[in-house]
């Protein structure tokens, strides 16, 4: 029989390159099929300088000066590394009322803190995985932390789910010898979702749970005795709305927080980001926070009939109060990837500003103000 027999009547398709398009559906035949789409394109280097002071009536108390550095660098199409370093120098005293007068918090002593963190994030087609480490060191305190976070993006990139887990190991060696080799271990878990609502609105909601055990007392505060376990649940929701007509952006956030010390807090923030001519941006902001006191917080004077060793604190941080922070930030685009910003915030804490209930009566109003000035370059 002959090789070329009857006409076969094969009809060949005329679609150009149809086979190439089909072949690209085969797994792994061409690179770029599992590549990042959300990795940062550009690096950032930013330097900020913080000048912080706080005071109570008649007394200048504490001053902090802190230069800080932040670097973000894409290592490849799909890997980025970011890190920051901060160096605080704290001069002055901690709260007057409840101090023992010796040790690191004593008046006129300067303390230093060095803290750094680094995080590497690998971006995949539909997800990003970040691994981070952080450390902070003071004369009487050493903290080390590690974290893993995973973000999963929806196909249209309008929704992101975030899962995070972190661990922290702290060691406390107080200068006054009250706490020696004390430790604290904390595990954090975070679940979050970010949803683009429209071309002008985005919302994020995070639920974070933290469980720690170890030494929570303040060794510099007389008789301060706190539980050796602390669990915290925080729920943070942030919402950004762009207003195209005036090119402004409104940012609001609310955080509910409750911890096993018995303190509940509500924190609300609003900021208005307003670009103005010549590359400037003005951002006024306002923050309000209110918290209830910890179960073992006692207003001065020292409670009568206190059993030594029973839970007790007079730390104003665990008292009931409200606090307001107005702020103003001015940023300038200097061109060529350079930008600069300066921000002033003024913080006032009053027991009478507590919402839902009365504040702790015995605390003196605390005020603070801080200025941060920064410069950044995109490269």
């Amino acid at each position: 029989m002959a090789a070329d027999r009857a006409p076969d009547g094969a009809v060949l398709s005329a679609t150009s390159g149809a086979l190439l398009a089909a072949a690209l559906a085969l797994p792994g035949v061409a690179p770029g099929l599992a590549m990042a789409q959300a990795a940062p394109e550009q690096g950032v280097i930013a330097l900020k300088y913080l000048d912080y002071r706080d005071w109570q009536p008649g007394e200048a108390r504490m001053r902090v000066r802190a230069p800080a550095l932040y670097v973000l660098k894409p290592l490849s199409d799909s890997v980025a590394v970011e890190g920051s370093l901060v160096y605080d120098s704290v001069s002055g005293a901690s709260p007057l009322y409840f101090n023992t007068l010796s040790g690191a918090s004593g008046i006129g002593i300067t303390e230093y803190r060095t803290a750094g963190d680094i995080k590497v994030t690998k971006y995949f087609n539909r997800m990003a995985i970040g691994v981070g480490g952080a450390a902070s060191s003071e004369r009487d305190y050493l903290s080390r932390a590690a974290s893993l976070d995973v973000r999963v993006f929806s196909d249209d990139r309008n929704r992101t789910y975030a899962f995070g887990i972190g661990g922290e190991n702290d060691r406390i060696d107080s200068v006054n010898g009250i706490a020696v080799g004390q430790r604290r271990h904390t595990v954090d878990v975070l679940l979050g979702v970010t949803q683009v609502l429209s071309a002008q609105a985005i919302i994020q909601s995070n639920l974070a749970y933290s469980a720690g055990h170890g030494y929570y007392s303040d060794p510099y505060k007389l008789l301060d005795t706190r539980p050796d376990r602390r669990r915290t649940l925080a729920w943070l929701t942030r919402y950004h709305q762009h207003l195209p007509g005036i090119d402004a952006t409104v940012k609001v956030s609310y955080r509910y927080l409750h911890d096993s010390f018995g303190s509940t807090s509500h924190t609300a923030e609003i900021a208005w980001v307003q670009p103005v001519p010549r590359g400037f941006t003005v951002t006024p902001s306002l923050r309000y926070a209110t918290q209830s006191a910890a179960d073992f917080y006692f207003d001065p004077p020292f409670p009568a009939g206190h059993v030594p060793g029973a839970l007790y604190t007079a730390d104003t941080r665990l008292a009931a109060f409200g606090a307001i922070t107005p702020g103003l930030k001015l940023a300038a685009d200097l061109g060529g990837g350079w930008s600069a910003d300066v921000k002033l915030e003024v913080y006032r804490q009053r027991s009478s500003w507590r919402l839902f209930s009365d504040g702790s009566p015995g605390i003196a109003p605390l005020s603070a103000r801080w200025i941060q000035a920064g410069i950044a370059k995109v490269f």
């Binding site: 398009a21 089909a22 559906a25 690179p31 770029g32």
Partner: protein, 168 residues
């Protein structure tokens, strides 16, 4: 029969997952919707005027990071294959023309750039990501769809252009 209809859907789906033509977008083998858009001087550029030529249509915006990397590459394509008949049309989808112009000052383009602030064309083409590019042959049919811009795929796309242009 039923099985076969489903299987074609599968092929289309796997293509979409790989970013080679969306499940709902302009797909390989199709004739893309026509457009008539103004360039920087206000002259109208239409897709149909390039019938018979190999055309690379790219949707981009000033705020899109990968677009910044794609422009130097498209400039190189224009230099290398312009004389062989390749036409590159970059459709800008910025809402504010000034944003696009600032981008073009930083990264000038040596190919055609047209402006569609209303976003009519990307909607008609069902553009799936920024940037998205469509390689169209002389008969006006789409032969490749690229969603996103990846260094690893540049060679493949260039090879595809070369084969359509019959440049050895």
């Amino acid at each position: 029969m039923n099985l076969h209809i489903r299987l074609l859907g599968t092929v289309a789906l796997s293509l979409a997952a790989l970013g080679s033509g969306g499940a709902w977008g302009v797909a390989v083998g199709e004739q893309p919707p026509a457009f008539a858009l103004p360039d920087a001087r206000g002259e109208i550029v239409t897709l149909s005027q390039f019938r018979g030529q190999v055309t690379y249509v790219d949707f981009w915006a000033s705020w899109c990071g990968p677009c910044k990397r794609s422009f130097p590459w498209m400039n190189a394509l224009q230099r290398r294959y312009g004389e062989h008949g390749l036409v590159i049309v970059a459709v800008n989808v910025d809402k504010k023309r000034a944003d696009a112009e600032r981008f073009l000052q930083q990264i000038p383009a040596n190919f055609r750039v047209v402006f569609d602030a209303a976003g009519v064309t990307p909607l008609a083409w069902a553009v799936g990501a920024m940037p998205s590019s469509y390689l169209i042959d002389g008969e006006g049919k789409v032969t490749a769809v690229e969603t996103g811009f990846f260094d690893e795929r540049k060679g493949l796309v260039e090879e595809h252009i070369r084969s359509l242009l019959r440049v050895p």
